[in-house]
Each structure stands twice: as structure tokens, then as C-alpha cells.
């Protein structure tokens, strides 16, 4: 279908953007950076068009629903949320170095969605459990949360790399990464946004589960893993705000946190549970 073809092309645009960001970091030139930004913004625009087209197509097929109902659609939305958040951040901080660490996440999500053999990209009708207005709120909040944690992950890697910078300015790559203080502050902001979104995602999920399954909390593996992720980021916030932890320790905790996010998203599919429609 046209929408899946468009979305599969977006994968390459993001890959090209990643390469340009990388080129900028290695050469220390401004031009590849500007090209990368244009590629990212253009990619996001086409990406949005692809999602909209998929939505419209589903209505044409008579099974109209928001494109958030299976693994393929969630991956597409995950990539979209990452790129949107990243571009907002690039625009606000006027710094492009994070692009080299975040565009690969969007690229991988899109590539997995479009080219993995076990992923079904057909538009399917909604099964009864998914027919709920909470679907949209739940998926949007969760995936913006995941995307913010993805950015926090990128910033944590940058922080750990920046620690290698001796301040001599010899290494262009390290010199282009912003100062440790800024990275730490940005990381904190991303964790706050992610935490708020994850909380909203868990709550909307609970409200939905209450009307679909009769219980707002059933210790289903996906629920439990999202709670584990919530615990980890709650620890990040407490250790920073109350204990005054900064820098390396926080970066490592964010690393662990994002691993939990990935497990909540993908790993849980290998455990038995109620969220089976997110598997294929």
C-alpha cells in the first residue's frame, strides 16, 4: 500500500540524516549539519504525511481507526515522536550534535517496522478490546514518554563521551558536544517529560483496562515492566533532586532506564500476558 511505501522511504531519509550528522561531527563543518537538519525536517514532514495517509486509507477501507493498533504502527509512531522531540530540542538549543545520537534510534525503529520479516504492515480492523477512545490517549502518551527517554539515552551517551574530552579541543567530535552542565540539564528535562508522559500512559492504560478487562491493574507483564521503568526514573529524579546526584551517576541510571523502556516495548512480547496485539 502507498502509505507503507512512503514510510519505508522515510527510513532512508533518516539514515541519510544520521550520516550527515555524523559527517558534521567528524569534519567539524557546518554544511553537513545544515543538510542533516533539512533532511530530518523533510523526513518528518513525509513521515507525518505517511501516517495521515494510513489513517485516511483505513477509513476508505471501512475499518477506520487511528494508526496506533499494532507493532508496525507503534514503531512508526515511535520514530515520529523521537524525530519531533529531537527537532524541537535542536531548534531550542541551536545545537546539532544530539542528532548523531538520536537519528539512529528513529532510523532503527523505521527500518524494523518496514523491513523485518515478522512484522505485519497491513491495515487491520480493530478487535473488540482495542475499540476504545483510550487507545489514542494511551499510545500517544506512552510513545512520547518512550521518545523522551530515548533522547535522554542519547544525551547520557554524549555525557559519558564528553567525559573523555580533556578540553584541548583536538578531537572535533568531542568538542562539538555541548558542555557537561548543559547535557546534564537537558537530560534532566527529558527525564521529567518522559516521566510525566509515562505516568499519563500508565494512568490512561489503567482507565482503559478497567473498562475492558474489569481491573485497573492486573500485574500483566507489560504493566509490570512499565511500573519497573517508572520506579527507575523515579529513582533518577529522587537521586538528583534530593541527593544532588549529577552527571555520570545519572547518565548510568538513564542508561538502565532506557533498557527497561526497550524491554517494556519489545522484551515483554516473549512473556505471556494480555498485551498480545502489540506483538505483530
Amino acid at each position: 500500500m502507498l502509505n507503507t511505501i512512503i514510510l519505508s522511504y522515510v527510513t532512508f531519509i533518516y539514515f541519510a540524516a544520521f550520516m550527515c550528522y555524523l559527517l558534521m561531527m567528524v569534519m567539524g563543518k557546518d554544511l553537513p549539519g545544515r543538510v542533516a537538519t533539512w533532511l530530518s525536517a523533510g523526513g518528518l514532514l513525509i513521515h507525518s504525511a505517511g501516517i495521515t495517509l494510513r489513517w485516511v486509507t483505513s477509513h476508505r477501507l471501512g475499518i477506520g481507526h487511528a494508526p496506533f493498533s499494532n507493532l508496525y504502527e507503534s514503531l512508526i509512531f515511535f520514530g515520529w515522536a523521537i524525530m519531533l522531540l529531537y527537532l524541537i530540542m535542536e531548534w531550542r538549543t541551536r545545537n546539532r550534535s544530539l542528532g548523531a545520537f538520536v537519528t539512529p534510534l528513529a532510523f532503527l525503529a523505521m527500518a524494523y517496522a518496514s523491513y523485518a520479516p515478522d512484522i505485519n504492515d497491513r491495515i487491520q480492523p480493530l478487535i473488540p478490546a482495542l475499540k476504545s477512545n483510550w487507545l489514542i490517549a494511551h499510545v500517544i502518551t506512552c510513545f512520547f514518554g518512550y521518545a523522551a527517554f530515548g533522547l535522554s539515552f542519547g544525551l547520557s551517551i554524549m555525557y559519558l563521551l564528553k567525559r573523555l574530552d580533556r578540553g584541548e579541543g583536538k578531537n572535533i567530535f568531542l568538542r562539538l558536544i555541548p558542555g557537561k552542565g548543559i547535557l546534564d540539564e537537558l537530560n534532566y528535562q527529558m527525564v521529567v517529560i518522559g516521566f510525566l508522559m509515562l505516568t499519563l500512559g500508565i494512568i490512561t492504560g489503567a482507565v482503559w483496562a478497567h473498562s475492558a478487562w474489569g481491573s485497573y491493574w492486573s500485574w500483566d507483564p507489560k504493566e509490570t515492566w512499565s511500573l519497573i521503568t517508572w520506579f527507575i526514573y523515579a529513582s533518577v529524579l529522587h537521586s538528583r533532586l534530593v541527593r544532588g546526584w549529577q552527571g555520570k551517576k545519572i547518565a548510568i541510571l538513564c542508561f538502565i532506564g532506557f533498557s527497561c523502556v526497550l524491554f517494556t516495548y519489545f522484551g515483554v512480547n516473549y512473556l505471556p500476558g494480555l498485551h498480545s496485539y502489540a506483538k505483530s
Binding site: 475499518i63 487491520q124 480492523p125 478487535i127 473488540p128 478490546a129 475499540k131 476504545s132 521529567v192 516521566f195 510525566l196 505516568t199 499519563l200 494512568i203 489503567a206 482507565v207 482503559w208 478497567h210 473498562s211 475492558a212 478487562w213 474489569g214 481491573s215 485497573y216 491493574w217 500485574w219 507483564p221 509490570t224 515492566w225 511500573l227 519497573i228 520506579f231 527507575i232 523515579a234 529513582s235 529522587h238 537521586s239 534530593v242 541527593r243 527497561c260 515483554v268 512473556l271 505471556p272
Partner: protein, 473 residues
């Protein structure tokens, strides 16, 4: 760590539970325990299968630690209680400090805020100090809270603040966690989770509790009038729907439809569409050949349990048992024959014998129990079995739910206050010299220094505009 009293500080219990280290340790322990719970199958058939494969020593160990129902085990609850205690005591321990910071209004004539003031936070206007002070005072009172002013000689000092409530956001978040846990407790003490299967046309007033499988009387009755499942063209289910009628004291008082995601509430109890199934409920169509006056095949419709005469009058037969789905390959019925002379015999007949018989093990297939011609000269055929649906309903009462939703709302409100508002304190100093006034703007904030800078820049610009206007309006 600020503690409100030396007495409290000395108490080891208090010291232990007021530590944020404990919070972090508990959060990590809870996370680790929850991981175990998602790896080890919990309750149900999965847990039984897993337990069977375990070495007996390991099984005893798992059983001892309640690992098959971990989230309801004592030790998991101890961890949750520990976290709640930690939360309460931390909050009590720190609250007086926050309260003092909330109450305290710093003196307006402090010089420290103005130390190292960037150049663009100071400007000069051609207004005399007394006039400027009047205008600034009125302006600040309209924009800030708890404005204080002080005059010493040709210097006028102002203090004002906003967002002092942001100091309490974190307590709101902590309170919300407790409210949610309370809601959970209320639900587990005063609520129940049960289920019931009701065949179409049937009525029941009793459901089965999931915990302990005990029956529970609802105090009213519910009848399933109709169950329908519809499918999309590709075979995926589209909608499950049960039409229910509720009876109080034998009188029908309400008719409602339950669908997935659209539960029905009746008298404080909620009914959810959970499952469905087919049961052989109606008549069986039986074909009989080989006997009677014409020896041809006749078809009769017969209700299970009802006895009919054989066509040749050799005796009576009846359908003693019926299965809607035999080995997943269609309907089956057990025919019982009561001849006028001789012993009763019974055998199974199938709607699709060609599918089922070849799959039976050799000796069984030859057994008279599966021989449709076991009572010569007759051969029996099963031509169809009317089936009815039953609906599987989840039946719950949970008075804790509104409490949980309140807690969730408080948590989100608390997050917004904690993360997106900040307590900003602003000092302004006017220094009069020969008809001119030097204005300096300084401030401090609990968090978000960038936001404070933006606010101070805007305030400086506004004051400049205000004091440059000749009439000060």
C-alpha cells in the same frame, strides 16, 4: 536532611524511614521483585505447568517465598508498606522546612541578591525616586504576591514573589501515591472479582469468586437474553455482545447490553464481557435408516433426554448425552436404546464420522461404543445439533476505583506543580540621584534558572516602559 526536632532525629526508627537512600533502595528492590514476577508464571495454569517442571527442592523454595503469587505475597506487601512508611515519614520530616520557607518573607532591603548583577538588570530613568517608587509599588502589587517595601533615605526596596505553592507540589505527589495505594486496599477489602457463565435464555443470581472459587449471591438475578459475536471479513472478531435483563425480586427492572470496553453497572456491581462459548442446548437431528416398515431413512428432531419409539417398534431410543465439539471435530451424541427385550445398549454417533473415526486408536474404533450400527438393523446418523451460546461475564465490585482515580488526578496535578512551576523571589532597588533613579532588578528561584532569567528580563523591560512614561499610567 532537615529534621524538625532533635528528639525525632535521635529515634533510630525515624532516622531509618526518613532517609531518601531507603526510598531509592526500596524502589530498586520493588523493581527487581517485579521483574521476578514477570519471569515466573503467576497463578493459573501457567504457574502449575511451570511448578511441575521444577526440581522438588526448588519448588519448596519457590513455594516458601510465594513466588507463584508474588504480587500478593507477604514480603511484597512488606516492601510496599515500607515504601508507604518511607513516603509518609520523609514528608512529615521535611514538611516543616517547606512550611517555614513558604511562610518566610525575606526583608526587602537585602543587598546580597544584587551582588554580581548583570549590567542589563540595571537602568536609569529620568523620574524622581519617590514618584518611581509609587509607580513600581502599584505595578508589583498587581503582578506579584506578598509585596513588601522599605524606604531608607533615597533608597527604595521592594520584594515580591510568585509560585510559593510550588514548594508543596512534591507533597501532593507523595500524597497521591498513598491515595492510590489506599484505593487498592479498599478494593481488596470491600470489593470482589467474580465470574459467571450464563447460557442464552438462562437466569442466575449467583456468581463464582475468583479467589477460592466460592459462590456469591448477588441479591438480584441476571438473565442472558442473547449473545452475539460478529466477525470482520478476514475472520477477526468484531464485536461480542450480551443482552442482559436484570431481575429484582423476580421482576425485570432493567435491560442492558454489555460489550467489550462497554461494561454495565447495576446496583454497584459491574458486568464485563469476558468470554463466550457454545453449548449443545437445543434439539438433535437424528437420521435413522435400515429398520421399520419401509426401511428407508427418516429424520427426527429430538430433545436430549426425551424417549422416542424406534420406527419398527422394537423399543425406544433417546439422546443421552450431546457434545457440541468432540475432539475439536464437530458435534457428537450418545444414543441409548432401550429394547423391549434384551439389554440396554448405548453408542456415540458423530456429525462428521469420517473425520473422527480414523483418528480413534484401533481397538477403540472397533468398540461397539463407536458403532452407529450397534443395534441392527438400524444405523444412526447425527445430522445436526442445535447449539446455544453462553456468555462469560466478569462480575466485579470495587469501591476503591474512585479513590484510585482521585489519586491519579492528584499525581498529575502534583507533577505539574513540582516540575513546571517554581517559587520565584524578586527584589527591586531604586536609588535616587538628582531627579534621576537607578533601578536594579534581581531574583532567585528554587528551580528553572533559565525561566527566572526570562522573567527578570521581561520585568526589567516592563519597568523601563512604565517609568519612562511621563504620567506613569
Amino acid at each position: 536532611m532537615t529534621s524538625s526536632g532533635s528528639q525525632k532525629k535521635a529515634n533510630p526508627f525515624w532516622r531509618f524511614f526518613s532517609s531518601v537512600k531507603l526510598t531509592i533502595v526500596l524502589l530498586i528492590l520493588l523493581a527487581a521483585a517485579s521483574i521476578l514476577g514477570t519471569v515466573i508464571p503467576q497463578q493459573g495454569q501457567g504457574a502449575v505447568d511451570f511448578a511441575k517442571r521444577l526440581d522438588p527442592a526448588w519448588f519448596r523454595f519457590f513455594e516458601f517465598l510465594d513466588l507463584f503469587d508474588m504480587y500478593h505475597s507477604l514480603w511484597f506487601r512488606v516492601l510496599l508498606t515500607g515504601l508507604s512508611l518511607n513516603l509518609v515519614i520523609c514528608s512529615i520530616d521535611r514538611f516543616p522546612g517547606a512550611w517555614r520557607r513558604f511562610r518566610a518573607v525575606p526583608k526587602p532591603d537585602r543587598n546580597r541578591p544584587f551582588a554580581d548583577l548583570p549590567a542589563d538588570r540595571t537602568f536609569v530613568v529620568r523620574t524622581d525616586a519617590a514618584d518611581a517608587a509609587g509607580r513600581v509599588g502599584r505595578f508589583l502589587r498587581s503582578r506579584l504576591k506578598r509585596v513588601r517595601e522599605k524606604t531608607s533615605g533615597d533608597r527604595h526596596f521592594f520584594y515580591g514573589e510568585k509560585g510559593a505553592f510550588s514548594l508543596f507540589g512534591v507533597y501532593l505527589v507523595h500524597l497521591s501515591v498513598l491515595v492510590i495505594l489506599c484505593g487498592g486496599l479498599v478494593g481488596s477489602f470491600f470489593g470482589f472479582e467474580a465470574y459467571v457463565n450464563i447460557s442464552e435464555g438462562e437466569k442466575t443470581g449467583t456468581v463464582v469468586l475468583r479467589k477460592g472459587m466460592k459462590p456469591l449471591k448477588l441479591g438480584f438475578e441476571v438473565r442472558c437474553d442473547r449473545f452475539r459475536v460478529s466477525f470482520y471479513d478476514d475472520g477477526a472478531p468484531k464485536e461480542y455482545r450480551s443482552d442482559l435483563t436484570f431481575f429484582v425480586n423476580g421482576e425485570a427492572v432493567a435491560e442492558r447490553s454489555v460489550r467489550v470496553n462497554h461494561p454495565v453497572h447495576f446496583r454497584g456491581i459491574t458486568f464485563y464481557q469476558a468470554s463466550y462459548g457454545k453449548i449443545p442446548g437445543g434439539k438433535a437431528r437424528i437420521g435413522i435408516s435400515g429398520g421399520g416398515p419401509d426401511q428407508g431413512t427418516k429424520t427426527v428432531e429430538i430433545t436430549p433426554g426425551e424417549a422416542l419409539s424406534l420406527p419398527g417398534g422394537e423399543g425406544k431410543f433417546l439422546v443421552a448425552d450431546a457434545k457440541g465439539d468432540f475432539m475439536g471435530m464437530g458435534a457428537a451424541a450418545r444414543i441409548l436404546i432401550r429394547p423391549e427385550q434384551g439389554k440396554e445398549i448405548h453408542f456415540w454417533i458423530f456429525e462428521h464420522p469420517e473425520k473422527i473415526l480414523p483418528r480413534l486408536p484401533g481397538p477403540m474404533a472397533k468398540s461397539p461404543v463407536f458403532n452407529a450400527s450397534a443395534f441392527p438393523p438400524y444405523t444412526f446418523y447425527l445430522k445436526g445439533l442445535e447449539s446455544a451460546y453462553y456468555t462469560g461475564l466478569q462480575v466485579n465490585r470495587d469501591p476503591g476505583v474512585p479513590i484510585v482515580w482521585t489519586g491519579c488526578f492528584l499525581m498529575i496535578a502534583g507533577f505539574f506543580i513540582t516540575f513546571f512551576t517554581s517559587h520565584r523571589r524578586i527584589w527591586i532597588r531604586l536609588q535616587g540621584t538628582e531627579g534621576k533613579t537607578v533601578v536594579s532588578v534581581a531574583g532567585s528561584a528554587g528551580k528553572n534558572p533559565v525561566g527566572l532569567e526570562r522573567e527578570l528580563a521581561k520585568l526589567t523591560a516592563d519597568l523601563k516602559a512604565l517609568l519612562s512614561r511621563p504620567d506613569g499610567s
